[in-house]
Each structure stands twice: as structure tokens, then as C-alpha cells.
């Protein structure tokens, strides 16, 4: 039973032959659609009129077209799409064309719900056209099945491209957020500062560790301040992550200080019995900065401009 399932490579771009096999679309079926195209193509515009009349009844759908020009352009693209569908020449270029539509849908944020409603509408139009043009009931039914199979393949290609593009966009956003959430900054020569805000989990702690260790390597910093005043919850796991970051920086010859430890966090650490031996801590970032300057042999001095008379 399993051996009858077509083998599909795991890469995103499945080939035309692979997909036709997966969707059980034979060359005979494609020929049936192609034969129908001679009579159907002249009627495309009537069906498109029905499609756009249906769209006009749904303001939510129409909201994706910002002008009449855009609507005209999309209608022309759709006319080409239907024409290509009826010519049923499923090549690599055909697949690429369908995937492009999915990418556009992802870019404009067209919900799959709306797209599938459109697919349903197209299907009904095609079936109606088939019934009108093919008098033999059995042949019309066979044509309907062939078109349904190819339409399923088209819809799957478009949805898959939509999902892939959305994943890509989410991944890009996630990386941007991550870069913003670990702003390791060299605030003075040899002194790095990283204020952490929000929740810390194992993935984030690993990313923080990588960012910090790379910065130490690049800047040859001798002091690193990890300010946790913005961390909402410190439990055993979070404390261990922070301690590991501190220990890893020490291995690179950089002294770490965890600042922003509130009385509540300090009580939690004691209650949980977390071993913080060898970890430098301060209650405020100011204390940690002052200590780091001291360790670097620097002293802060008030100038005249800073004094109030």
C-alpha cells in the first residue's frame, strides 16, 4: 500500500512530473481539458464578469484593490491565469507562475479563506461552462473531474507558496526582534552592557550567550554588565541561564556583573537555593558601571558644568 504513494522530494520546489503523479493527473486528463479550451476560451470574459460581480458583493474582498486600475490589472492577470489553466500545459514554468500568485497573496495579506472562496467560485464557473459546452452528460462529468483535479493542484501550489512566504517573513521579523532584544553595546572601551527586557527562555538565553561571547571576542572587553531590571520573572531556569552566561564570559577573560537584582529577585534566588558563587551582582546598573570603571582604573569626576550653584 505504502509503495503506491509517489515519492516526493523534501525540497520546496517539487517538479511538474512529481506533482502530477501526486495529484493523480494523467496526460489524458490534461488532454481532455485542452480539447475543451477551444470552445471555452472565447467564453472566459463572461465567466470573469460573473466572478467580479460576485466579488463586488463582498466589500472585504474588494478592500484588497486600492483603485480601479489595480482591479483592471488583476482581472487581466486572472484572464491569463484561466487561459493557461485551460491550455493545461503543466510545465515547470506553469508551477512557477502559480507559486508567484501565492507569494503575491502573502505580500498583500490576502486571507486563505478569501482565496479559497475565489477558488470555489472559479470551480462553479468552470463546471457551468462545461455543462453548457459539452452536451454529453458523462463527458461533461469527466471534464469536471479533470478540471477539479488540476484546480486542486493549482490551489495547493498557491497555498504552499503563501505559507512558505509567510514563514519567510515571520522568520525575518523574528530575527529582527532577536537582534533588537540583545543589544550588546560597548559603552566604554573594554566595557560591554546588555540590558535584558522581557522573558528569558532557553532559546533566548542561548542567543544572548552567542551575542555576548561574539562581542567579547570582537571588542576584547574586560567587563560585561548584564542588567536584568527589565526581566519579569526569575525562576530556577532563568537564574541558571544568567549564571551560565556569566560563567561563559569569565572563560573568555571578561568579568561579568549581573545588575538590577531587586530585593524580590534576591529573595527568590535564596529561596530556590541557587548557587551564585563566583557571580558578581549589584542592585543597580549604576553600581555595576561604577564597579566596572573602577576595575578598568577609571574614575568618574564631577565637572564644574555639572554642579548647581
Amino acid at each position: 500500500m505504502l509503495s503506491s504513494i509517489p515519492r516526493i522530494s523534501k525540497s520546496k520546489g517539487h517538479g511538474a512530473a512529481e506533482l502530477l503523479s501526486l495529484y493523480r493527473i494523467s496526460s489524458d486528463q490534461l488532454s481532455i481539458i485542452r480539447e475543451f479550451s477551444d470552445e471555452a476560451l472565447p467564453k472566459i470574459d463572461v465567466s470573469l464578469d460573473h466572478f467580479y460581480d460576485w466579488m463586488a458583493e463582498h466589500p472585504d474582498l474588494m478592500s484588497f484593490f486600492h483603485s480601479q486600475d489595480a482591479l483592471t490589472h488583476v482581472r487581466e492577470m486572472q484572464r491569463l491565469y484561466w487561459k493557461r489553466f485551460m491550455l493545461a500545459d503543466v510545465t515547470e514554468d506553469y508551477l512557477l507562475d502559480r507559486r508567484r500568485i501565492g507569494i503575491v497573496h502573502a505580500r498583500i495579506g490576502l486571507p486563505v479563506m478569501f482565496y479559497m472562496a475565489g477558488v470555489s467560485m472559479v470551480y462553479n464557473e468552470l463546471i457551468a461552462m462545461g455543462k453548457e459546452l459539452v452536451s454529453n452528460h458523462a463527458k461533461a462529468s469527466e471534464l469536471g473531474n479533470c478540471m477539479a483535479d488540476l484546480l486542486h493542484l493549482d490551489a495547493a501550489l498557491i497555498c504552499q507558496a503563501f505559507v512558505d512566504k509567510r514563514d519567510e517573513l515571520l522568520n525575518e521579523q523574528s530575527q529582527a526582534v532577536m537582534a533588537m532584544s540583545t543589544p550588546v553595546t560597548e559603552i566604554w572601551e573594554g566595557i560591554l552592557l546588555l540590558p535584558i527586557v522581557g522573558l528569558v527562555d532557553s532559546k533566548r538565553s542561548e542567543e544572548i550567550m552567542n551575542a555576548v561571547l561574539s562581542s567579547i571576542k570582537n571588542t576584547k572587553a574586560k567587563e560585561f554588565i548584564l542588567d536584568i531590571s527589565g526581566v519579569g520573572v526569575v525562576d530556577t531556569a532563568v537564574a541558571n541561564y544568567l549564571i551560565n552566561i556569566s560563567k561563559a564570559t569569565a572563560l573568555m577573560g571578561c568579568r561579568a556583573t549581573i545588575s538590577g537584582i531587586s530585593p524580590a529577585i534576591s529573595k527568590t534566588i535564596i529561596q530556590l537555593g541557587i548557587d551564585i558563587t563566583g557571580v558578581n551582582t549589584t542592585s543597580t546598573m549604576m553600581d555595576a558601571l561604577s564597579r566596572a570603571f573602577e576595575n578598568r582604573g577609571l574614575a568618574l569626576k564631577s565637572g564644574k558644568k555639572g554642579r548647581k550653584s
Binding site: E206, N210, L213, N244, A248, L251, G253
Partner: protein
């Protein structure tokens, strides 16, 4: 062919040198059990012959990756150094190696850590 193999093996060996009263060991990248066995023999032999050596500095600068087994073997080697009454200093640890050391919970019996040889020599 034989010559090339010998060269490769030479380049993989840990090199030993002395600065002031410290023995400096440059670890090769991807050091293995065989490298550490040879290293241990050489270091302990030098320490037993030269009583003026106060400590050993392990330079990781060439090490881009390692694993728990090799670190554990290195840890035992450094424990032997400590048992001979000498200090252990580490330097040149790369971010990836630091992360592995932390993940595997090894402390490598170190007395101090520096960014490079000069940093360690300043601290000792």
C-alpha cells in the same frame, strides 16, 4: 606521502614553550585523546624536571571546536598539574568553545582566565 603525514601530525601536536616561570601549551584545533595523552606526558615531565615552573597556561586560540569527551580528558590532565602544586590558567577561548565548556559543566581546574597570553601573564 609519508612526509606529508608526518608534517600534519607535527602541526597537530600541542606546542610547549616557557615564558618567565610559566609553561605555555598551545592546543591544536580538534585536539583528541591521542593529542592529550602526549600533552600530559610532556607537561608532567617538564614540571617534574623544572621545579621553578609555577604554573601552566593553556592557550585555546587555535581551538575552534571541541566536545565533552575531550574536555573531560583535558580536565583530568589539568587536575594532574594541580596535584603537582602548579596553577592552571586558560586563555584564548573562542565563543563556541566557551559555550561547550559551560554546557558540559567542566571547570577545567582553572585558577584564572585571560583573553590571551599577555593578559594571563599580567594577571599572574
Amino acid at each position: 606521502m609519508e612526509l606529508k603525514r608526518a608534517d600534519r601530525e607535527d602541526s597537530r601536536q600541542s606546542s610547549l614553550s616557557s615564558v618567565r616561570d610559566h609553561l605555555i601549551v598551545n592546543l591544536p584545533d580538534n585536539f583528541d585523546d591521542h593529542d592529550l595523552g602526549a600533552l600530559e606526558e610532556q607537561v608532567l615531565s617538564r614540571l617534574s624536571l623544572n621545579k621553578r615552573i609555577r604554573g601552566v597556561i593553556i592557550d585555546f586560540a587555535n581551538v575552534q571546536s571541541t566536545d565533552a569527551d575531550d574536555l573531560s580528558r583535558l580536565q583530568n590532565c589539568l587536575l594532574a598539574v594541580r596535584l603537582l602544586g602548579r596553577s592552571v590558567a586558560l586563555c584564548g577561548i573562542n565563543p563556541g568553545v566557551a559555550a561547550v565548556i559551560i554546557r558540559t559543566g567542566q571547570d577545567l581546574h582553572r585558577d584564572l582566565v585571560g583573553q590571551d597570553i599577555n593578559d594571563v601573564l599580567q594577571k599572574v
